[in-house]
Structures are given as structure tokens and as C-alpha cells.
């Protein structure tokens, strides 16, 4: 943490606010705004944290209302119950989400970076047509694609397997768009030409010149792909029926449906709430890990 601080401040030193020449950042209004925003975005999550510490009765008849803790701190019991419900199925779901999100996330980012770079820096025949198709294809809602995708996967006997979720999730048209825009702005053609003149092939140029410049964009797309796949609900719901393969979203959704249904002994609210809280933590960690890469994109100035 300290290293990060040092890194940032040395980078940040030239970037002062516009008022006077002071190096200390006195921007009270900005801080007030940030506090308000942070509060707005965090209050529902605060509810989640508090709710996870309650047992199932406390959720509904809590002593101090929904936003404050009960007398009885039940978090540890809840977590223990998570591990015994359905034989620890929750952790299996969490593992599945990891698998899908990181495999598909990394894969989608690789495809998006390559394609975005290709669109941005090369004028090949059919480029504009293909790009228009790309934009057009996301206009039809995915609802229409469920059955055809299912049929397609079934033809290759891939339904109800991990590939049923991973393969379609490799598609991130928005990521391709983003990378194209970033690549256009952040990778100067002169640098590419310089490398080419030096005798580097296209691939080498890409890896040694373009990729370092695209780091903040790449990290952004990676983060968004991972989160997008992690949070995907409808695709796994449609193509998976084996409860052991479900990601955490579908699994918790199933427990939630069970808790509102009429079947006997099915109330799992405390698990749904605690499970939701735990499932957010990996993404928060990913964000914290990846955010450092946003700092180092400054060095090779792109837009002049």
C-alpha cells in the first residue's frame, strides 16, 4: 500500500489542481461530492453486510431494523451453514464462477485486444463492413439467441458443460470497440512505423510497441470482461441444468427462488444474503489488484 502511495504521488506531482500553485490538493467541494457519491453507492452494500450477520429470523424481525446489527452476531454460523448446505455446493458454485469468469475474461480480453488493434491500425478490405456488422449484431437482444445457441451447443454435445458458458462468453463486442478507440488514441502510428523501419514484423511490433501503451485499456477490458462473465445470469441458466456446474449467480438465484416458494423447509435467506456478500469479495479484490495498472499508462503520452 505504501509503495502504491509513493508511486502515485511521484506520478501525480505535476498534476495539480487549477487553483493557485499549491501542491496540496485542497478541493473541499470535490471531497464533499465524493463522500456523497460513495455513500449513495455503499448504503445498499452496508445493508448487505449487516444482513449477513443476522440469522434468518433476525433478517425479518431484527431488533434495530434493517440497517443495524442484531444483538446476536451470526456471521460465522452463516458461513458454516454455507459449507454444509447441499454438501458445500456454495463453494463449488464460487469455484465455478472463478473458472468461468477468469477463463472467459482473459480469453475475451485477448480476442478483444487483438481485434481492436487490428481494426484501429490496419486498413484492410472489409474492415468497415465487418465493424458495422459488429455494431449491428449487438442490437438484437440476446433473448433471441438463447434457443439457437442452445441448439448449436447441443449439436457439439457441449450443453451442460463448462464450455457452454465459457465459449459464448469469449465474445465481448464492447471490448473490441473500446480497444479500437483506445488503440487509435493511445498508439501513435509513428511509433509503429519506427518499429517497422527497424525491421520488426507486425506481431513483434504489436507486442513490443503497442501492447505496453494499451495497458490501461487492456486492464479495463479485462476487468469488465471478468466482471461481466462473473455476473452473467441468463446464459448459464439456459444452458446448464446440472447444479454442480452453476455459477454463483444462478445458484443464489435458485436458493432465492426456493426461499420464496411454497416447498417445505426451504427458507435459505440467511444463506442467500451471506453468500451474496462473499461472492462480491473476489471481484473487489480483482478491482484493487488491477487498478494499479491505470497509473502507469501516463508515461508515453499519446494525445497531444
Amino acid at each position: 500500500m505504501a509503495a502504491l502511495l509513493v508511486d502515485e504521488t511521484t506520478h501525480e506531482a505535476p498534476r495539480q489542481n487549477g487553483r493557485g500553485g499549491s501542491t496540496r490538493q485542497r478541493q473541499p467541494w470535490s471531497h464533499v461530492l465524493l463522500i456523497i457519491l460513495a455513500a449513495y453507492f455503499l448504503i445498499p452494500l452496508w445493508w448487505l453486510v449487516v444482513a449477513s450477520t443476522k440469522d434468518i429470523n433476525g433478517l425479518f424481525t431484527g431488533a434495530h431494523g434493517p440497517m443495524w446489527f442484531d444483538a446476536h452476531f451470526n456471521l460465522v454460523t452463516n458461513i458454516k451453514q454455507l459449507s454444509t448446505q447441499n454438501g458445500g455446493l456454495y463453494w463449488r458454485w464460487l469455484g465455478n464462477s472463478f473458472l468461468y469468469a477468469f477463463t472467459a475474461g482473459v480469453g475475451a480480453t485477448v480476442l478483444a485486444v487483438l481485434a481492436g488493434y487490428g481494426f484501429a491500425k490496419y486498413k484492410f478490405r472489409g474492415r468497415n463492413l465487418f465493424f458495422a456488422m459488429l455494431l449491428g449484431s449487438v442490437m438484437v437482444p440476446l433473448t433471441a439467441l438463447v434457443i439457437p445457441t442452445f441448439v448449436l451447443l447441443a449439436r457439439f454435445h457441449l450443453t451442460n458443460t463448462i464450455w457452454a458458458v465459457i465459449l459464448p462468453s469469449l465474445l465481448n463486442p464492447f471490448g473490441v470497440y473500446l480497444m479500437r478507440v483506445y488503440a487509435q488514441d493511445a498508439v501513435p502510428d509513428e511509433m509503429l512505423d519506427a518499429a517497422r523501419i527497424d525491421g520488426a514484423g507486425e506481431v513483434r511490433t504489436f507486442f513490443s510497441v503497442a501492447l505496453p501503451l494499451l495497458k490501461p485499456a487492456l486492464v479495463t477490458v479485462l476487468l469488465l470482461s471478468v466482471v461481466g462473465t462473473w455476473n452473467n445470469y441468463f446464459l448459464p441458466l439456459a444452458v446448464l441444468s446440472d447444479t454442480k456446474l452453476l455459477p454463483i449467480t444462478v445458484g443464489l438465484g435458485a436458493w432465492q427462488a426456493q426461499s420464496t416458494s411454497a416447498a417445505a423447509g426451504s427458507q435459505l435467506w440467511n444463506l442467500v444474503v451471506t453468500g451474496s456478500l462473499i461472492s462480491i469479495i473476489p471481484l473487489i479484490i480483482s478491482f484493487l489488484v488491477l487498478q494499479r495498472y491505470w497509473q502507469s499508462g501516463l508515461s508515453l503520452g499519446s494525445l497531444k
Binding site: 434468518i56 429470523n57 433478517l59 425479518f60 424481525t61 454444509t84 447441499n86 454438501g87 458445500g88 455446493l89 463453494w91 463449488r92 464460487l94 469455484g95 465455478n96 472463478f98 473458472l99 477468469f102 477463463t103 482473459v106 438463447v146 434457443i147 442452445f150 441448439v151 447441443a154 454435445h157 457441449l158 450443453t159 451442460n160 458443460t161 463448462i162 501492447l211 505496453p212 495497458k215 487492456l218 479485462l222 441458466l237 439456459a238 446448464l240 441444468s241 446440472d242 447444479t243 454442480k244 456446474l245 435458485a254 427462488a257 426456493q258 426461499s259 420464496t260 416458494s261 411454497a262 416447498a263 417445505a264 423447509g265 426451504s266 427458507q267 435467506w269 489488484v289 495498472y293
Partner: protein, 466 residues
């Protein structure tokens, strides 16, 4: 930098895989471990596209039949079956409850692959699937063997002429659960037996200063509302799978209109609530004293006892559902499920065996009744003294079957559903909500609009509407 990112990600992915493997192997309990066919990927055994099983297969050489069902404590019933059968084994998974499972099944039917061999279907959805040729006629697979174990009307609900499309499992005869302690406080000494008395008692409860509403009238009740209408003579559909393109629709009969008007009266007087059913709000209100009465089916006992936020001083009792006419009572039913064999089943004989026999023993039913709060339609246990004398602790030891539900089940005359029931339910919810909650139209108009909408829809779907 990207390399270290890649390494880091791979490490995380590896961790995830180990995490997954650990929890499945070391998870303990009764429900771990995949089938002998292999882990989380496609199982090349007869389990087919439905994947690995939640339960254990004890006879690996036998034919495997995949089953989708969401019964409570079903795994124990499956284990019982697998232990006692050498030639057939059940591979069960819970593919979701109600609509979730139906969505998955619907996709599989449309895609022509991915359906299980046996599927749990509520009685009101059968026609929607027979019309898509998704279910097998079990009369060719020995359904007649078990016919004697069910009441005629129950059998009629799963048949169409000579064809039998599902084996009945459980039912939902309706009754009334009430809070005796709240009744006592309000000075209501005996529970109401007619709807007139019901209205009077509701008023009495309000007048006594009780904070509780008498009961709830959920406009999204769907089959619940349909049952209330049926009690006053509504029989809206005439439809058989053998004559699949003809349907007659009479939703706007006087009985339905009368029932709607009755409940609107109670709502307008502020005596009953209009919460949607099966939401978290409703699930707590029903047990914490916000409502004094819960009109529900026999499986409601399991539902109520499983809810949280229960008022610990509550005293729940069961009574027969109020009647429109004390001299000619009409029994009604809400819910109830069946097991059907799908047309995608590879070995239909084995699948039929499963459907016929999984809930065909006393031992299986004892599990279903005690752990799953199911109401059996299987005569040997339904008419046994075990079931008649069963005391339910939630009701303070009351023998609710003896007092309420056996009679309700015996008196139930059956019901015919349409092959587009989802559409009909959605429209009913909209119209009931418009009339009773939003008060933008009268209940009569709402029922008439419902009739028109459903008739138009049926016609647009190619049915000949009589």
C-alpha cells in the same frame, strides 16, 4: 507485465479448480459426489445430456433414468428406489422450481435435446406440454398397472381419453389455517364455515381493535384464484389432448364474477390485504400475526412451518375451507404435481417404471409426508390409518388430515386446464390487479376482459374456440 498477469490469472484459475474439486469430494453429507460416470463434464453414460447426478448411483451397471424434480427430501426417496431396484437407477437433479424448471424443459423441448427422461410437472402445466408432443403416452407402458391406486378423478386429470400422460404424485386439497389465539382475542369462538360467516368474522376482527387483517387476497394468485372461482361453479375449459385443436373457454361465468365481487368487497372495507403471494413481505406477514387466516392447500403446512419470523405465541389450527352453501359443499384443489415421461427419453420403459414406482411405496411416502409435507394421492397411504391419524406439531398436534384434508381430497371433482395456462394466468393477474388493487375497472369488466383476451389468444394460436 502481461505475462505476470497471465501467470497470476492462471494461478487463480487453478485455485478455483482445486476449490471446486475439494468441495465436491470433501463436501461430505449425503449429497456429494458425482455419478460413477465422471465429474463435472458430460457424462458419457446413459445419464446423457442431463449431466451428473446429485444422488449416488448404487448399481452402476443398471440403466440410468434422469429425473428433474424439486420435491423436498426427494433425495431420500430416490435412494430408497435405487436400493430396491437392480435394473433401473434414478439419476436425479433439481433443475429449479416451478417456472425455472419449466423454462429449461421448454428450451430442451424446442431444441429437441437436453430434456430429462422423467420430469416433474404440476397438473396445470400438463396440457401445455402435451400439445407440443413433449410427453409420452404411458398407457403403452403399463400405466394401467397403477391406475387402481388413484381416485378416478385424479386419474382423469392426467389422462386424455385412453391416453395417460403422467402419473399423479401429490395433491393440494384446500383448507383454512387460522390463528386460534387471534380469533380468541377477537371473540370469534368457532372458525367460519361459510363465506357469509367469513365476512362477518372479518368485520368482527376489525371491530375488536385487532391490528391483524383477516386474510390476504393476492391478485397474482393464479391457480389459487382459479380454485376459488371453481368453488362457485367455474369450469372454464373443455380440452382434451386427443382433440388438441379444439377448446372451449368460459372464464366469465357468473361464479367467477361473484367471487371477485365478494373479495373486492372485503378489500374495500379494509378487512383483507392485497399483498402478492410468495414474496418476502408476504412470507413474513403470514406468520407474524399480520394475517389471521391463511387459505391454502394441504402442502401449506410445510410452507408455514418452514417460514421464518414466526410469532412464537401463535396457535395455528386447521379447519375446512368456507363454503358458499353449507348444504352442498364444493371441495377445491390448489397445486399438486405429477411425474411425466418425456418424448426425449431413450429408454421409455425404464423411465415409465421410475414414474410409476418412485412414489409407489409406503416407505417413500412416509419420507414425502413427514419431511416434504406432501399430500399423497396414492390410495394405499392416503387411506391408511397412519395418514389419517397423523398429528402435525405445527398445529399443536391436530390431526389435520382427519379433520380437513381427507374430506377435501375425496370431494374434489377434478379440473381441466388449458394448453396456454401461462398466458391465462398472466392475464388473470393483470385484470385482477387492475380491478382490485388499482381500481381502474370493475371486477365484472375485468373478468369479461379476461375472457376476451384469452379467446382472442386461443384463436390467434389456431385453436377452434367453441
Amino acid at each position: 507485465m502481461k505475462r505476470s498477469l497471465a501467470v497470476g490469472t492462471a494461478a487463480v484459475g487453478l485455485l478455483a479448480l482445486t476449490l471446486g474439486a475439494c468441495s465436491s469430494g470433501g463436501g461430505g453429507g449425503t449429497s456429494s459426489s458425482a455419478s460413477s460416470g465422471g465429474g463435472g463434464g458430460t457424462s458419457s453414460s446413459a445419464a446423457g445430456a442431463a449431466g451428473s447426478c446429485t444422488n449416488k448411483i448404487v448399481k452402476p451397471g443398471a440403466k440410468q433414468v434422469t429425473v428433474w424434480a424439486w420435491y423436498g427430501a426427494f433425495e431420500q426417496v430416490v435412494d430408497l428406489f435405487n436400493k430396491s431396484h437392480n435394473d433401473v437407477q434414478i439419476c436425479w437433479s433439481n433443475a429449479g422450481q416451478g417456472k425455472q424448471e419449466y423454462t429449461k424443459f421448454s428450451i430442451a423441448v424446442e431444441a429437441g435435446t437436453g430434456a430429462p427422461d422423467v420430469v416433474m410437472l404440476e397438473t396445470d402445466t400438463l396440457s401445455s406440454f402435451t400439445i407440443r408432443k413433449a410427453l409420452v403416452d404411458l398407457s403403452k407402458y403399463g400405466a394401467a398397472d397403477v391406475k387402481k391406486n388413484y381416485y378416478d378423478r385424479v386419474w382423469k386429470d392426467v389422462s386424455s381419453g385412453d391416453a395417460v400422460y403422467a402419473i399423479p404424485v401429490d395433491g393440494g386439497p384446500m383448507g383454512m389455517f387460522y390463528r386460534k389465539d387471534l380469533f380468541d382475542k377477537a371473540g370469534i369462538t368457532t372458525p367460519p364455515t361459510t363465506w357469509d360467516e367469513f365476512a362477518v368474522d372479518a368485520q368482527k376482527m376489525r371491530d375488536s381493535g385487532s391490528k391483524a387483517l383477516f386474510t390476504d387476497f393476492p391478485t397474482n394468485g393464479g391457480a389459487y384464484l382459479q380454485a376459488l372461482f371453481a368453488q362457485k361453479g367455474s369450469a372454464p375449459y373443455t380440452y382434451t389432448a386427443s382433440n388438441a385443436t379444439d377448446v372451449s373457454i368460459k372464464l366469465n361465468d357468473q361464479g367467477s364474477k361473484d367471487v371477485m365481487k365478494y373479495w373486492q368487497g372485503l378489500v374495500n372495507k379494509g378487512l383483507v390485504g392485497t399483498d402478492d403471494t410468495f414474496t418476502t413481505d408476504y412470507n413474513t406477514k403470514v406468520v407474524d400475526g399480520s394475517y389471521a387466516v391463511c387459505l391454502t392447500a394441504a402442502w401449506g403446512s410445510g410452507y408455514l412451518s418452514g417460514l421464518s419470523g414466526t410469532d412464537p405465541t401463535a396457535v395455528w389450527k386447521a379447519a375446512p375451507i368456507p363454503q358458499w352453501s353449507a348444504s352442498s359443499p364444493v371441495q377445491i384443489n390448489w397445486g399438486g404435481s405429477t411425474l411425466a415421461v418425456t418424448s426425449q427419453a431413450k429408454d421409455k420403459t425404464a423411465a415409465a417404471t421410475v414414474a410409476k414406482e418412485v412414489f409407489g411405496t409406503e416407505a417413500a411416502w412416509k419420507i414425502g409426508i413427514e419431511k416434504g409435507a406432501m399430500f399423497p394421492l396414492w390410495k394405499p397411504i392416503l387411506e391408511s390409518s397412519y395418514f389419517t391419524d397423523l398429528a402435525y406439531p405445527f398445529f399443536g398436534g391436530q390431526k389435520i388430515n382427519q379433520d380437513v384434508f381427507l374430506k377435501a381430497a375425496q370431494g374434489y371433482k377434478g379440473f381441466t386446464w388449458s394448453p396456454f395456462q401461462n398466458f391465462a394466468y398472466d392475464k388473470l393477474t393483470e385484470e385482477a390487479n387492475a380491478a382490485v388493487v388499482q381500481k381502474t375497472k370493475s371486477t365484472d369488466d375485468a373478468i369479461d376482459s379476461l375472457q376476451k383476451a384469452v379467446v382472442d389468444y386461443a384463436k390467434s394460436q389456431g385453436f377452434t374456440v367453441k
